[in-house]
Symmetry: C2
Subunit: 188 residues, 2 copies
Amino acid sequence: MEAKTLNRESWLSAAFSALAEGGVEQVRVELLAKRLKVTKGSFYWHFRDRMELVEAMLEGWKTGRIEAIKAQTRLDGRTPAEGLRYVLSLYGGSSNPRGIAIELAMRDWARRDPRASEIVAEVDRERLRCVSDLFAGLGLDSDDAFARAYLFYSFIFGEGLLARSAAPDRFEKARDICGKVLVPEGAS
Amino acid sequence: MEAKTLNRESWLSAAFSALAEGGVEQVRVELLAKRLKVTKGSFYWHFRDRMELVEAMLEGWKTGRIEAIKAQTRLDGRTPAEGLRYVLSLYGGSSNPRGIAIELAMRDWARRDPRASEIVAEVDRERLRCVSDLFAGLGLDSDDAFARAYLFYSFIFGEGLLARSAAPDRFEKARDICGKVLVPEGAS
DNA sequence: GCGACTCGATACGCTGCCGTATGGTCTCCG
DNA sequence: CGGAGACCATACGGCAGCGTATCGAGTCGC
């Protein structure tokens, strides 16, 4: 399992872990090197400089997320409502904490770096489009469908921001109720 | 207007600006000093070290936010629905960008610092309580009211995370529709 | 006017990080 | 076996940030 020699992917993976745990500021080559049990001599073999790593992260995240949302909203026999509930479950609660952490770190990064901001915008465009289509499949008109998608994603991201320790015992039930509000049962 | 001598508040204010613009990592004493046109000799007069500044920020933010939410949800003659729409408007859209930026930076900070996490949790508890009460005033039972408050705040914070450049022309209308979904018209 | 106090400047050492330069150790291939 | 190339270690210079120490320059009480 353990490749005896590192490659670009090893460094990218470690970089995303660092991003998830500490934000962009924590993806530093000497820290990653320590994490990977090598020295930065290795890093500068695979990458020209830190910038190149960071741009590879942006590009990789973008394509990965766009592929993912397309796959996740391709309903093979599912109804639109089921599809929405499925997408919601992917980011809901405590499933996939790493994915959520990367998502949030990415967005915090985007707040102060125009390149990250552009990448996040592209991903959001695609996601809003895909999820809008699902809501449109529920019978909503274009504006309502978009608004629902907007609410949908705002909730998903915002939920990751709300301190779950504020009332741990009530969150699960709240999430269920929110699910019903976000993707209405009765429609279509 | 310009005080000829700085005090703790001056540094705290500059620190919050730096926090809003660049996250905790950017509240650095030498940067703040440059921003305030002094040297760090001043800083270490007013604060023991960077830690003390940072803790003062946490404490100040906590008390300020808790006072604010209590004032904002005290409905003097307003109906609960009006109160909710008012709170929503405070954080909505492009009003108060600095407040939103601090809010998001605070939460990103909380993701990796347990002290910040605890502060945010305390503020969230109070906010959820206040807004839950408003929803309860609309006739919802306890669980539904809490879930609505949960959705309400998730939306507010999540909205700040969504790339508005993903579809700038559609966001305003979407926000309006979301408002109607978040605080139902008919209820009560 | 003089000491005490407030507030800030200057200068230093230390650490962590980036990037470069150069050398070493494998592996593969002919 | 021997050379080439892939991969990594070691060592260095440079910069930025933290914290300390010390020294002014104003201000206020008396």
